[in-house]
């Protein structure tokens, strides 16, 4: 019974529960007990039981359990953003996108582990221990939404919410064989998302397949009066159904793919194989130029830390969270609280950001980076005059071993070289699992112009159906 439940996608679960074929209570309990036995450290908090009235929940997502990345505020439930400085912090309100999903009938299963304050690409910087990749527990699941990715990949949750600032959904999706969607900036509310980089953060989905991604996103999207930077998606989200790629023009940014970050041969092979498949499905492929995209990572590592340095200034021990007391000097209280509450990566980025904004350096760093950003966005706009989508591998390599990149921050940052340009431009991008390299998943990234989610999901669906990627092996390993 439980094996059947695990084999169903979220869309199928919703339908089965609505049709009375499955009980919401049973579905929740199945996932809950699997999660309780989790050895990947995917969760920081797990519900004790299903809500008493779960079988009475209504709505299109009624009865489908949802795992939520820790940095989404959930009223009365720990929301710690993977940080010691917020250990056991329980907010008095719930993030808008979570509220929308709960209103649509979904149930909160648990809060997932993440890199501290979403800063990282491996989920090794969390204060509550690293997360392991269900495909190979000696390896990282990617980050910062590694907990959400591990939960879905390991069959601990049918689907999960993540956030993506420079690749934090797409990269773990690629490492864990999942579909990861980072939507157009502004289409999902950021209210209640503990902020990392305000102009880049976006809520998004981690799911087994494209249809689930479309369903989940459809119930997250919408203008929120609590978020001044949110807007109404001009289109209604629809269920993807495309069977081929006829008439689709895909651009491949060759110069971007010449990277310093070690382009793994297995990844390259899977990528090229998938491009050929796309052609067979009727797409036309051509090289496209994104001249400034190679500089996107450098600009990102100024903009994101700069915004983060201000966003994290509120963690000062005054109103909530950790306080290191015992010294009567206010400045020392601040400095010690923050020194002890933040991990090394967060401190590095706060320092980097503070430096980039400091007197005399603003124009050279932040000002310049925001101009690079304009060019990166312009490059995409021009590319989308000729192409429907741009395609890249999601990451240069497959999931690396725990500890392999922690000694050198820069080597960790280079993981994001192909996901960051889309973040800077605010355009939507999806990572789709397209095969394995040495037994580990490889992701393809498709990016489209702003508000092109429907077409993006449709194209991804067509590819997905043809590829037939099977992620079930990672799900079986969890102790039943």
């Amino acid at each position: 019974m439980s094996a059947d439940i695990i084999s169903l996608s979220a869309t199928e679960l919703a339908a089965a529960i609505a049709a009375g074929e499955l009980s919401a209570q049973e579905v929740f309990e199945t996932y809950r007990s699997r999660s309780a036995a989790d050895d990947c450290n995917a969760y920081t908090w797990l519900a004790d039981t299903a809500p008493a009235d779960i079988d009475q929940h209504t709505g299109p997502l009624a009865g489908v359990p949802l795992a939520v990345k820790d940095l989404f505020c959930t009223d009365g439930v720990p929301s710690q953003a993977g940080s010691k400085i917020l250990a056991d912090y329980r907010p008095p309100y719930t993030a808008t996108v979570v509220t929308k999903l709960l209103d649509a009938g979904a149930t909160l299963l648990g809060k997932t582990n993440q890199d501290e304050f979403a800063m990282g690409s491996s989920t090794e910087t969390c204060a509550f221990g690293p997360v392991l990749n269900p495909w190979d527990r000696t390896r990282v699941p990617g980050g910062s939404s590694g907990g959400s990715a591990a939960a879905v990949a390991g069959g601990l949750a049918p689907w999960a919410l993540g956030t993506d600032t420079g690749g934090s959904i797409r990269q773990p999706a690629a490492f864990c064989g999942l579909v990861g969607l980072k939507p157009t900036y502004g289409t999902c509310s950021r209210y209640g998302m503990i902020a990392f980089a305000s102009s880049l953060d976006q809520a998004g989905t981690l799911t087994r397949d494209v249809k689930d991604a479309a369903l989940l996103y459809a119930h997250m999207v919408g203008r929120d009066e609590n978020d001044s930077t949110s807007l109404q998606h001009p289109e209604q989200m629809r269920v993807p159904s495309r069977e081929d790629l006829r008439g689709i023009r895909i651009g491949v940014p060759e110069s971007l793919l010449q990277t310093d970050s070690g382009f793994d041969a297995g990844v390259r092979e899977a990528f090229e194989r998938t491009l050929k498949l796309a052609e067979q499905l009727g797409a036309t492929l051509e090289p496209c130029e994104l001249p400034h995209a190679p500089h996107a990572l450098a600009a990102y590592y100024i903009i994101a830390p700069a915004e983060a340095s201000a966003n994290l200034a509120r963690f000062d021990g005054v109103r909530y969270g950790l306080r290191v007391a015992g010294d009567e000097d206010l400045t020392t209280m601040y400095s010690r609280t923050r020194a002890q509450g933040f991990g090394a990566e967060v401190k590095r980025r706060i320092m980097l950001g503070t430096y980039a904004l400091s007197s005399g350096y603003y124009d050279a760093y932040y000002g310049t980076a925001q101009r690079v950003r304009t060019k990166v966005a312009d490059d995409f706009r021009q590319a989308f005059d000729r192409f429907d989508f741009v395609a890249t591998p999601t990451t240069p390599g497959v999931a690396f071993e725990l500890g392999a990149k922690t000694a050198d921050p820069l080597s960790m940052y280079l993981n994001d070289v192909w996901t960051v340009p889309m973040s800077l431009a605010g355009i939507p991008a999806i990572s789709l699992p397209v095969g394995l390299s040495e037994g580990l998943p490889v992701g393809l990234q498709l990016a489209g112009p702003a508000f092109s989610e429907n077409r993006l999901l449709d194209a991804a669906y067509a590819l997905e159906q043809t590829i037939g990627f099977d992620g079930s092996s990672a799900r079986e390993e969890v102790a039943a």
């Binding site: 907010p91 102009s199 340095s309 200034a313």
Partner: protein, 479 residues
């Protein structure tokens, strides 16, 4: 020429005005007045993780009204910035303000040019738990976030003021303008008006600006004036002694008159401004500007002009009254209460009223009503009471209220004049008592009227009508 006279002060002001909206600048908490701590807070103004600001449309509207009233250009597209620093009264660790593109810029009020007007959020309140409540005494404090997030308009002037008297007059005009607009209570003692001054000196006749220092946290116009006067003196002293003036913030102690530099760390000025990513720009649409313009009431300068033009008041008297909203309002209500009141006479009596009120006092806070005031003016102008008696009546009206006729009757202040009043006999007695004065008057020296008039006034306890007395004196002397 003394050192002081060789130099002129150069004063620029940075004014913060708390806006009278219903809710805070970036959240829907109500503005607070003396409530218990932290009863008007929410996740946003507490700076809880995950919260985002949403700008108050009314605060923007008020900001535009202020800009228009000050003759500024409204920026077609202005934006918010983060001003980053750490302090317990700043929950996010940054203040949302405006930096490179303020809401309004380039205006003028009176003789002072306005550099800019922008909107921002106020900090919270730090309460010190020492014996005196002063920060120097305390080793523990607590933060009350009721005030945090209140909308502020910041007004910055060019250093166009060259004396503290000028400054006080100009600030009075500014305050009246804000009150007339209805955008703020502008009460310095309550904190809805805060004025910081940038002060430097230069030799008279030169145009170069000297090093300036900053004065903050004064809670009355008077203390601000004293502080600036003291700082000007201090700077002149340094210049004369050949010593440099350090650019710093000075603290003035009103009780001792002492000026001490505040300890400012150099890094405290590094606010690391960058555009606020959580807020989108403010586009000043035609509708918004029209709405702001339509909401402008008659402003003090225009009101003064109207007083001069329609009521025929001399310009300086018109400005004196019009530049203080509370006086002008009282004055106009008095004129309305009694259509026969002569505006100029009433204006002169306003002067007497001001003398009987506390500094910067509002007639509406005293017991005299506009109606009673109007009656008093009428009684005095038709000589039913003398000027002296009128002043006595005004004293009583201010302190106890009531109506003038009743008071005149009760206190026996009715003017002595007319044929049955016995005034002629008193005049005759006065002439008889001082033949020298009488002789002087007869020989054309009008100054000698004084002693005779004075005699009569004393005898009548001030109730005689002055011009009647003069007439009788002349009559009886055969002039």
């Amino acid at each position: 020429m003394s050192a002081t006279a060789r130099y002129e002060p150069v004063i620029g002001l940075e004014i913060h005005v708390q806006l009278k909206t219903r809710t805070k600048m970036f959240c829907g908490c109500e503005l607070s007045f003396g409530d218990k701590p932290n009863v008007h807070t929410c996740p946003r103004c507490l700076g809880l993780p995950g919260t985002l600001p949403v700008a108050n449309a009314q605060a923007i509207h008020f900001g535009m009204m202020i800009g228009l009233a000050l003759g500024c250009e409204i920026a077609p597209r202005s934006r918010f910035h983060r001003k980053n620093y750490f302090y317990p009264d700043l929950p996010k660790g940054y203040q949302i303000s405006q930096h490179d593109v303020p809401l309004c810029s380039g205006g003028r009020l009176g003789d002072v040019r306005i550099v800019r007007v922008h909107v921002e959020e106020d900090a919270a309140k730090l309460v010190h738990l020492g014996a005196s409540g002063r920060i120097s005494d305390a080793d523990r404090s607590f933060v009350d976030f009721n005030r945090g997030g209140t909308p502020l308009a910041e007004i910055v002037t060019e250093p166009d003021l060259h004396s503290t008297d000028e400054m006080r007059e100009w600030l009075t005009l500014l305050r009246t303008t804000m009150r007339t607009l209805g955008v703020s209570d502008v009460n310095m003692a309550e904190g809805s008006l805060r004025v910081d001054a940038n002060v430097s000196v230069r030799p008279v006749g030169t145009t170069e600006l000297g090093v300036k220092t900053e004065l903050k946290n004064m809670n009355s116009f008077r203390f601000l004036q004293q502080a600036i006067d003291a700082e000007v003196e201090r700077q002149i002293g340094l210049i004369e002694a050949g010593e440099p003036i350090e650019q710093q913030t000075m603290h003035f102690a009103p009780t001792t008159g002492e000026l001490t530099p505040m300890r400012t760390k150099e890094e405290a000025h590094d606010y690391r401004y960058f555009p606020e990513p959580d807020l989108v720009p403010v586009l000043a649409t035609d509708e918004m500007i029209a709405a702001a313009r339509d909401a402008l009431p008659e402003l003090p300068a225009a009101r003064a002009e109207r007083f001069a033009r329609e009521l025929h008041l001399p310009e300086d008297r018109a400005r004196e009254i019009a530049f203080r909203a509370e006086l002008a309002d009282f004055y106009e209500r008095a004129l309305q209460a009694d259509g026969g009141v002569d505006p100029l006479v009433a204006a002169n009596w306003i002067q007497s009223l001001v003398e009987r009120l506390p500094d910067e006092g509002d007639p509406a806070d005293s017991k005299v009503t506009p109606q009673a005031f109007a009656r008093l003016v009428t009684l005095a102008s038709v000589s039913s009471i003398s000027r002296d008696a009128g002043r006595k009546v005004l004293d009583i009206l201010v302190e106890q209220g009531g109506d003038p006729e009743t008071i005149v009757e009760r206190e026996g202040l009715a003017a002595i004049s007319g044929e049955d009043s016995g005034l002629a006999e008193i005049v005759a007695a006065g002439i008889a008592a001082d033949p020298a004065a009488a002789a002087e008057i007869k020989s054309g020296n009008n100054k000698a009227m004084g002693p005779l008039v004075g005699y009569v006034m004393r005898e009548t306890k001030g109730r005689a009508n002055g011009s009647e007395v003069s007439r009788l004196i002349r009559e009886q002397l055969g002039l």
